[in-house]
Amino acid sequence: MNILLDTNIIFSALISDKKERLLINKIIRKRHTIVITDLVLEELNCVVERKLPQKEQKKAKKIITALSISDFIFLKRHNLYKNNIEKAKEYISEKDAPILAAGLQEEIDFIVSGDKDFIENKKLYFLRKKKILTTREIIEKYEYL
């Protein structure tokens, strides 16, 4: 399975060992693929630049890069999802459209996000609990993960 993780999920897994880390563990152990987009990568690097002291930034960015090129993460770049952007904009605000556009692609089985704009969005109800899930939902609902 291909599981697209929104930035908030991968970021939570990086900064704490709570349920998001458990999810990453499960995905990796069961040989599913984590999918992230280039927007996610930029957001992670931006947080590092803004919030980490200079001396730690290099180390943190190296980890983010290593993750993004690892065998277990597929990095979906803009050219691979740009055709879905207009469609995504019909359902979600412009700022979240790149993530939804990537997630709407057929090969993506689940989009995992903690963002209210995905989770509580009425226009996306037809995808809620089927394709768009919170971390807790995907862990609980899909025990086979």
Binding site: T7, N8, F11, S12, A13, L14, I15, S16, D17, R21, I24, N25, I28, R29, T37, D38, L39, E42, E43, C46, V47, R50, K51, L52, P53, E56, K59, A60, I63, I64, A66, L67, S70, D71, F72, H78, I85, E94, K95, D96, A97, P98
Partner: protein
């Protein structure tokens, strides 16, 4: 690559052999290499967390910053 000899408990070896037999791996060596790669991958998350802990960075503050970043960078991905 270097060749080494390792000792494993019977149960672990059986697990590896089962995965080789199922076609998931071509050999025991490939299976062990893959396990190690997965472990290394997961370790990267621990390493990142260690940086946050070492610098005593407020996680809530980090999360708030993250939420504000998308608005500033998303346009080039449209």
């Amino acid at each position: 690559m270097q060749t080494i000899q390792i000792r494993l408990p019977k149960e672990q070896l059986e697990k590896i052999d089962k995965e080789v037999k199922s076609g998931l791996y071509k050999s025991r060596s490939e299976a062990v290499r893959d396990y190690l790669k997965r472990m290394e991958f997961l370790e990267m998350f621990d390493n990142f967390q260690q940086i946050i802990d070492k610098e005593s960075i407020d996680r809530e503050n980090l999360t708030d910053t993250l939420s504000s970043i998308r608005k500033k960078v998303y346009k080039k991905y449209l």
